[in-house]
Symmetry: C2
Subunit: 199 residues, 2 copies
């Protein structure tokens, strides 16, 4: 390799080794067996597998590669910014600013062309407007719904979350993966009946 090539590879590997730290960012959600909190790296893996398995519920023409790349990267800013609990209104006030600063530092580790491309993918996910971002966001809501349901209420019970709050939180599924919406409504109803969500 030329000197230029090896500098490019060095920046790519610096980004890759930095990402190891996402394995230590803990989310509010527990593993399904309740043994410990989930971290953001394994969460991102889980969402990416879900995208492969549930692609048939995405709008026709959805580009799977873009969805996968978005999901793999959607939480890397948490290395600096931490995981912000979705129902914590206070912490969500400055979430965007903290995450933008993190994106500048972390994607800035990469060679410029790649840093720009991957940051744009992350921003596309955050905006949630394209078909791919809509589907990716839908999965990012569905997975904690499943975890909370299968841990008898999980973070809903810990924080006394209401049916209306859960329903609002799950809305992106209605738009991003419409065929899954009736299932989600059923599961929320069942969670209420079982006392997993506050009446």
């Amino acid at each position: 390799m030329t000197l230029l090539d090896s500098q490019r590879l060095a920046r790519q590997l610096r980004f890759i080794t930095e990402l190891d730290r996402l394995k230590q960012v803990l989310r509010q959600t527990s593993l399904i067996d309740g043994s410990r909190h989930e971290n953001s790296a394994e969460h991102s893996w889980h969402l990416a597998v879900m995208a492969t398995v549930l692609l048939e519920y995405a709008p026709a023409g959805t580009n799977l590669t873009r969805v996968l790349e978005m999901l793999l990267l959607h939480d890397v800013v948490e290395i600096d910014a931490g995981d912000t609990f979705c129902y914590d209104a206070q912490a969500n006030l400055d979430k965007a600013a903290r995450e933008q600063a993190a994106a500048t530092r972390i994607f800035g580790l990469l060679p410029d062309d790649q840093g720009v491309r991957l940051r744009r993918l992350w921003e596309e996910f955050e905006a949630g407007e394209t078909t791919e971002a809509g589907f990716a966001n839908a999965l990012d809501r569905l997975q904690p719904l499943l975890h909370n349901f299968y841990t008898q209420g999980g973070t809903w019970r810990v924080h006394n979350i209401s049916r209306a709050q859960v329903l609002e939180r799950m809305r992106p599924i209605e738009r991003g993966a419409p065929p899954l919406w009736p299932y989600v409504l059923n599961l929320i109803d069942e969670a209420c009946d079982l006392g997993f969500i506050a009446a």
Copy 2:
């Protein structure tokens, strides 16, 4: 949804919730800060991000989506079969049989068409013969190399692994991601110089 559709979705979600268990399968490799062992779910995420960042070192025409799907799924059989340490000759004797049985059960949770498709992807990864499988296998060797290097020898030191053993283990990188091979050879030499690999 029709009754048939909801049964299909139920099988897909059964597979997805089963996968949560991969987050509890520990590998020999440590996180780069040495704080704990890495699990196979977060490892799979790390490899998938690496595929996105390092795609330019794959042979021309490599299909990224197939590589990503392979990497996301390559370790799911470990839910039943456990992680087999690559330098443990005894445990590797029955590894293939244990993993085939695991694949039958785990991919069998899915609707038949999907179970067949994803199992074939896993088998393609295991065989390592296609361009996509070659590149995916290269990354699966490169990531532990980086972790061992940045943990001052990691599993190499624990198990007194020789330079010849490391070199043999890394060979798939030479074929699967040829432009990375000179870097790998340099890193192994440096690891020997630093005493991370037994003389």
